[in-house]
Symmetry: C2
Subunit: 203 residues, 2 copies
Amino acid sequence: MPDTNVTSTERLDDTALDRLFRRARTANAWQDRPVTDETLRQLYDLVSLGPTSANQLPGRFVFVRSPEGREKLLQAVSAGNLEKTRTAPVTAVIAYDPQFYEQLPRLFPHADAKSWFTGKPEFAERSALVNSTLQAAYLILAARSLGLDAGPMGGFDAKKTDELFLAESGWKSTMLINLGYGDHSKTFDRLPRLGFNEAAVLA
Amino acid sequence: MPDTNVTSTERLDDTALDRLFRRARTANAWQDRPVTDETLRQLYDLVSLGPTSANQLPGRFVFVRSPEGREKLLQAVSAGNLEKTRTAPVTAVIAYDPQFYEQLPRLFPHADAKSWFTGKPEFAERSALVNSTLQAAYLILAARSLGLDAGPMGGFDAKKTDELFLAESGWKSTMLINLGYGDHSKTFDRLPRLGFNEAAVLA
């Protein structure tokens, strides 16, 4: 059925492009300003709308914001990420559900997509990794859209994080993303980028 | 050095949130309206600003928009994706450079990040896959920010695509993303999403 309830063809204004990309920066320090659970729910709602292959939505999100949760998480964080994670209002553990395909009869009802993954654990895990990583990027930009700053981190012990937070669910962690309102007096200069001709080709 | 040239703390307005997430949709058909090379350069510039781990920027992008390029690409596209790819103004081949770490002395000059990856091809490839996938999601949302519609696709022959487009560079393709101005009379109804309590935990 066609759905005409969509927008396109107009670019966002400069304020929005600045906030999303051009002036947005990874936060290393935080204002003393909380992030409410209501904001985290709004964040999740935006993230869930981003596209994934066959709507598989493998991403799972543990929003750590209690003192007990944070103490636990700090056991798994690399030395260089400790202080910014200790002081962040929220840290999102980005994970995927290796059994994501069990939901596909509901999420992608017009084909037997579950059968594409059943009994193929390596194929399913790669798909879950890739598509949950798309969702991690949606979370970074959705956070910026909601006025938050994000601090994505790869430096943590995924196995330990899984033991501490995901033993029951069987989810697998892939990345941490600190969330809060950044203290931009502590933001570093932007690092160089590759030019168009170094990373792109017109064919 | 602190960089105070950043914005935050204000959420985007409803028009922007709609265009990025709430009303944005994967396009399956296209208006007869070209995407200029200048727009592709603007798109790349936004994508390049999104964060990657240790600024490794492993993503590489082949923007296929010539008739010859398109004919070549169609040899590698799954049957179900043929028509929308044949008619798309541009298809971006998302790839990564397995040797991305050779650029790190320039991109991440304050540590010897190149040595973290040298001689560890499996670790380097996983990092390149994950971080170029973040960049693929930045591309989807940057396209929407510029008024374009995106149509990401996993259904293609990556090995054949690498042979046809990436034999010289040694880059590895991971995903295709059609780009253009969508014909939303052909957009399907939005598929269901997982609720907060199905995919998220507060800890």
